[in-house]
Amino acid sequence: MPKEGRFMAIITVKNLSKTFKVKLKEKGLKGSIKSIFKPKYKVVRAVNNISFEVEKGEIIAFIGPNGAGKSTTIKMLTGILYPNKGEVNVLDINPVVNRKKLAYQIGTVFGQKEQLWTHLTPYDNFKFFGAIYDIPEAAVEKKIEEFNEVFELSEFINTPVRNLSLGQRIRCEIVASLIHEPKVLFLDEPTIGLDPVVKENIRTLIKRMNKEYKTTIFLTSHDVGDIEKLCKRVIIINDGKIVLDDSMENLKYHYLNKKIVEVKMREKVNLDNEEGITILKDKGYNLKIEVDITKKSVTDALKLLNPENIVDINISNIPLEDIISTIYKEGI
């Protein structure tokens, strides 16, 4: 957990909970008729007593498997949903009490939901967003000019959004959300469906935005690349509860102190029952093992393999994706 008092919290969440009432229906026609006259409900706890703080200027990854409570949390932070319990404070504003005031200070981009007017050009869209955030026209023009330069939009700024590629559209979605200079930007899966090159462009844009405008970024994504390349801190939520809140560095190197060693050998080696070593793949002369370095150093593991016996070797960290999957499945 981040040390208290070290930073200026821009988002504070304390013991936040949200439950939904979901209608239950028994199977078949009989069940459908029964549910009309005697509806039954079950309570689903989407977010369960979570607390965290976010520092000004941070890019934070808020991740979890589907149905973990990520979107519900974002919706409570932006004032869309009312919490059942707990406190939320974003930029010293309580979203429940003063949603409209908060709307002027934050921006949102949902990768799966278009916010732009598809028949209008990005330029007209930016003017539209300027108007709804009560920004004087001259200031909007200036801002568009600046974004055009910083984010290289000139090639398609006057093309109707419906004719843009997905990557160009997402680029414009993000830029549109910056017109009113939000202090916090909520990005919900901004790179979904994009090819690797466009993904990289969007990540560069997000980084630049954070650097140039000091925008705090609250990111949810299933793309490990987004998380790894953009965020220094990660919060993992599962089953409505926070299961991890730590720096990316700690996540990678401290929680799972394991290395993957892939070797091609001249002679077969038996590593069964060796403490700290798990055999992942054994194809005779090709071996893939996982070394728990809290129990056995990599050097010791290599000694067991006999360096003279090794033809080729590759030592790597456990992919972040696997670390995250393990946390999703098993917790910490």
Partner: protein, 263 residues
């Protein structure tokens, strides 16, 4: 207010793409008009006859006008859009913007209907003239007053449709309610003026949305009268305030209990 004008303008710009569709849609309007024109020709033995206070020409102009108001309101599509916004969770993406959802929906709907209103009015007036060979006699001031009343009528219709759409916060599907509402408006005031109905129900209709959304403006169109104008305007203002308050209340209560899962 400026932001709502911008929403109106943006929707108007977007809908310029669909001008051809509006012309095609007018064919449906024309068929309806043709059927009603023949119905009134059958009802009236000659054009000087007066039934329930209306000559045949007045009846045809009446229905031309109410049908314009009805078509321009575009209620069915608008209601299902609001209903879908609520049920599908789209409403969530409007909540965190610094405008009122009702103001946004209204401005965007009016922007969508603006070109349709102009196209339908011009074409319907030409068709009316071709059918009857005359226009109702109206001064410039009376035409301006009529435009005002018609505009307010469409705003009230739109707000009432928003209210029905927002029922989706409570019930699964608000379309049956809209179906009932639309049929009531269509029968009591669009095809026939209030005077055609039994005396016992006329006072009720005179206080109903029919009076402020279809009957009142069309009555003024065929027989302009300052007292009637002021009376309709007063009722419209009351309806406007009440419909807005009802929308705002339903929205506020609905949003508090909003369930938007996933995403």
């Amino acid at each position: 207010m400026k932001k709502y004008i911008f929403i109106f303008k943006s929707e108007l710009m977007s809908n310029l793409q669909y001008t051809f569709n509006i012309f095609v849609g007018f064919i449906g309007y024309l068929i309806m008009l043709f059927i009603l024109f023949n119905l009134y020709r059958y009802l009236y033995s000659d054009s000087s006859e007066i039934i329930n206070g209306y000559t045949m020409n007045q009846m045809v102009w009446y229905v031309i006008f109410t049908e314009i108001l009805w078509s321009v309101s575009g209620g069915r599509k608008f209601c299902s859009k609001i209903s879908e916004d609520v049920r599908g969770g789209n409403i969530a993406y409007n909540i965190n913007k610094p405008y009122s959802y009702i103001g946004y929906s209204l401005a965007s709907h009016l922007g969508e209907m603006f070109i349709k209103a102009i196209v339908y009015t011009i074409l319907a007036m030409i068709m009316g003239y071709l059918f009857l060979g005359m226009f109702p006699s109206l001064s410039i001031l009376e035409i301006l007053a009529l435009i005002l009343i018609s505009f307010i009528a469409i705003v009230i219709s739109s707000l009432l449709v928003i209210c029905i759409g927002l029922l989706s916060f409570r019930i699964e599907d608000s379309s049956p309610i809209y179906w009932l509402y639309s049929k009531l408006i269509l029968i009591f005031g669009t095809i026939f003026p209030i005077e055609y109905f039994p005396k016992a129900i006329q006072p009720i209709l005179n206080y109903s949305p029919v009076y402020v959304t279809t009957y009142g403006p069309a009555r003024l169109f065929v027989n302009f009268n300052l007292d009637t104008f002021l009376n309709i305007l007063l009722f419209q203002l009351i309806y406007l305030i009440l419909a807005y308050l009802l929308c705002a209340l339903m929205y506020k209560k609905g949003v508090k209990n909003l369930n938007v899962n996933g995403g």
